[in-house]
């Protein structure tokens, strides 16, 4: 634990003709409702003004990097869920793409699109949480409820795709767990529509709200030079006027084919960060819509005329009378209880490399090749074995550049996994953001940092 500053070290100020004042040491956290997660800020106050601040982290340290060295390459994925638990899918994607770079394999285009879609859904949930929670701490509880409602729609989508809301573990080295479910695009458009409505409402409630603007505007300022020096990335950096976005500047997956803007602020204060996040959510929705439009065909194919999936029985009937026009390359939708009906979900999403990508469960249970392939990947001492080497792969997390640095010694578990957590850099600049501001400004500033304990402390 950090030793508290002894009272003698606190400055006492006395000016002629005035009462002598003495600085006060205020301990905020580790368990404080405004400290999202667990963190301790030791603030030195002169009246209401923050003179200096010390930030203490590490309360949620679970040894992610150490544990990663003990499991196989796919076994790290559940640990990455627990890094940034508000947008776990982006962590999944970042880690898997780093391992794929190490292996030197390419995933199919459809898989890239799926990863982009789920990453952007996660980015919206992350920003909704951040903006909603900051607004709540400033008294706008309604906004928080609205935003959590919108997040709920998006998490239902995540649940539909991955089967879980938070501990998703959706990506695999060389692909994803399964394809997007039937009817996903439709549900997704509906959820985006609801999210847009919530954003409009929240915008009406916040952006010209006198109380909100007064508390956000001009507080927690950081210049572009300082932000770069501290290694700050993401919306926090962009609010200071630097248009660095990994998706634009070092494009990965299929981001270079999608049209989107990178919103940039001018003043680098809390209000600009709020505006940047609000606009980024809109841009993420744009990306999702384009990705849903451009994504290569998947396992669920619809009849070219009716636009509905073709049941297997109907397809057989049509084929018997020789009417194969339009359905010759189409897969039938079979009864979900039928053995093998889920197999198409695994057809288009994995790298064509049997030594890396797990087979569909139907193959594992249904034929000897699948069983062997499965065993060669999951049994103790076997598994994915990248060649010796080291790679660094950055993706744009919700808080900024999320980088994975992986060293392999040719064994079946990583030799070293290092994650560059984006909010670590922002937290290291927190004292700089707070000094000179009022005590009450700590809440909006800390809220705009969007500290995620799991990612910060790992």
């Amino acid at each position: 634990m950090t030793q508290a500053i002894p009272p003698a070290a606190l400055t006492s100020r006395s000016t002629p003709g005035q009462v002598e004042t003495r600085d006060m040491l205020l301990n905020i956290g580790p368990a404080h409702p405004a400290m999202h997660g667990i963190i301790r800020i030791i603030a030195n106050l002169d009246g209401e003004q923050i003179v200096s601040a010390d930030v203490e982290i590490g309360y949620l340290h679970r040894g992610f990097e150490k544990m990663s060295e003990t499991v196989d390459y796919n076994g790290v994925i559940p640990y990455t869920d627990r890094l940034n638990y508000v947008s776990p899918l982006i962590n999944n994607v970042g880690y898997c793409m780093a391992v794929e770079k190490l292996l030197g394999i390419e995933v199919p285009e459809r898989c890239h699109y799926i990863r982009v879609i789920v990453s952007e859904i996660s980015r919206i949930t992350d920003h909704l949480t951040c903006v909603g929670a900051s607004a709540m701490e400033l008294g706008a509880f309604t906004v928080f409820l609205y935003m959590i409602k919108a997040r709920e729609y998006l998490w239902e989508l995540v649940e539909m795709v991955t089967g879980a809301r938070l501990t998703v573990s959706y990506c695999r080295v060389g692909g994803v767990k399964g394809d997007l479910p039937d009817g996903f695009a439709e549900r997704c458009h509906k959820a985006l529509e609801e999210t847009r409505r919530v954003l409009r409402e929240s915008d009406t409630l916040l952006t010209r709200n006198r109380i909100f603007v007064d508390r956000m505007s001009g507080t927690g300022k950081i210049s572009a030079e300082d932000a770069i020096s501290y290694g700050i990335t993401g919306p926090f950096l962009r609010a200071s006027g630097v248009d660095y976005d990994v998706r634009k500047d070092c494009p990965y997956a299929v981001y270079d084919r999608l049209q989107f803007d990178v919103p940039v602020g001018t003043r680098g204060d809390n209000f600009d960060r709020y505006l940047v996040r609000m606009e980024e959510m809109e841009q993420s929705m744009r990306i999702i819509e384009q990705a849903l439009r451009d994504i290569p065909a998947g396992p669920f194919q619809t009849h070219p005329e009716t636009g509905r999936p073709i049941p297997a029985a109907e397809m057989v009937d049509q084929a018997k009378v020789g009417n194969i026009q339009g359905i010759v390359d189409t897969r039938a939708v079979t009864d979900p209880t039928l053995d093998g009906s889920a197999k198409p979900l695994h057809l288009f999403i994995g790298a064509d490399e049997k030594r890396v990508f797990l087979p569909a469960k139907e193959d594992t249970y249904g034929n000897i090749e699948g069983l062997m392939q499965h065993f060669k990947l999951v049994m103790y001492g076997h598994g994915v074995r990248p060649p010796k080497g080291e790679v660094y792969f950055p993706v744009e997390g919700a808080n900024g550049e999320l980088g994975f640095y992986i060293v392999s010694d040719g064994a079946n578990s990583p030799y070293r996994v290092r994650v560059r957590p984006p909010c670590f850099a922002i937290m290291s600049a927190l004292p700089k953001l707070l000094i000179g501001d009022m005590m009450a400004d700590l809440t909006p500033t800390f809220g705009s940092v969007n500290m995620i304990g799991g990612e910060l402390d790992r």
Partner: protein
């Protein structure tokens, strides 16, 4: 500028300091001597030809058990390693851990104007685990170096506030060293002061 050009530019500028280099999987990497780190980093940051204004990450690797993982006797030779596909740039094979030192401190730099990344690797001996701090150049180095000290026990010369960051002060040892057992527990019991 691609990885090979960037490495060449760094080599041309610092012919003495660069000990080795590679661009495995397209990641430009140079290995530096410990004494030249501060000078090279300052030039990379301030020189208009490089403008590496971001210090993205500082970390370390403990190479003491590299390639020594015991496989169950049954399976010793049955593992399959994958060879890279032609789409991935792989001009130079990975030359292996730099030098015979136990630790390697790894810096990831990024240049915003040129969008290029450079990895600096500095081998550090176990019995003299000390290296110059970059906290005077980048604010980001402050906490990142504290983390490396906490996790690996590598000291940073010139760091103003080198104390543990993720672990608590009473913690004994450095958990990311390979000789720290993964299941070793150090419960922190009761009030400490």
């Amino acid at each position: 500028m691609n990885a090979a050009d960037l490495i060449q530019a760094v080599k041309d500028r610092f012919p003495q300091a660069v000990q080795a280099s590679h661009s495995y999987r397209g990641d430009a990497t140079v290995v530096l001597g410990r004494d030249s780190l501060l000078e090279v980093a300052r030039t990379l940051k301030e020189d208009p030809a490089f403008q590496m204004n971001f210090l993205m990450d500082v970390t370390a690797v403990d190479f003491s058990s590299f390639g020594k993982k015991q496989s169950p006797a049954f399976f010793t030779s049955s593992g399959v390693s994958v060879s890279p596909s032609p789409q991935i740039p792989d001009q130079s094979p990975w030359p292996g851990p730099p030098g015979s030192s136990r630790f390697v401190v790894v810096y990831h730099l990024f240049s915003l104007p040129f969008k290029h990344r450079l990895r600096l690797e500095v081998p550090v001996e176990e019995d003299d685990a000390e290296i110059d701090s970059l906290s005077a150049l980048w604010g980001a180095a402050d906490w990142l170096e504290r983390e490396v000290w906490d996790m690996f026990g590598i000291r940073f010369r010139g760091h103003q506030n080198l104390k543990r960051i993720l672990m608590y002060d009473e913690f004994v040892g450095h958990p990311l060293r390979k000789d720290y057992a993964v299941n070793k527990r150090q419960p922190l019991i009761g009030p400490v002061n």
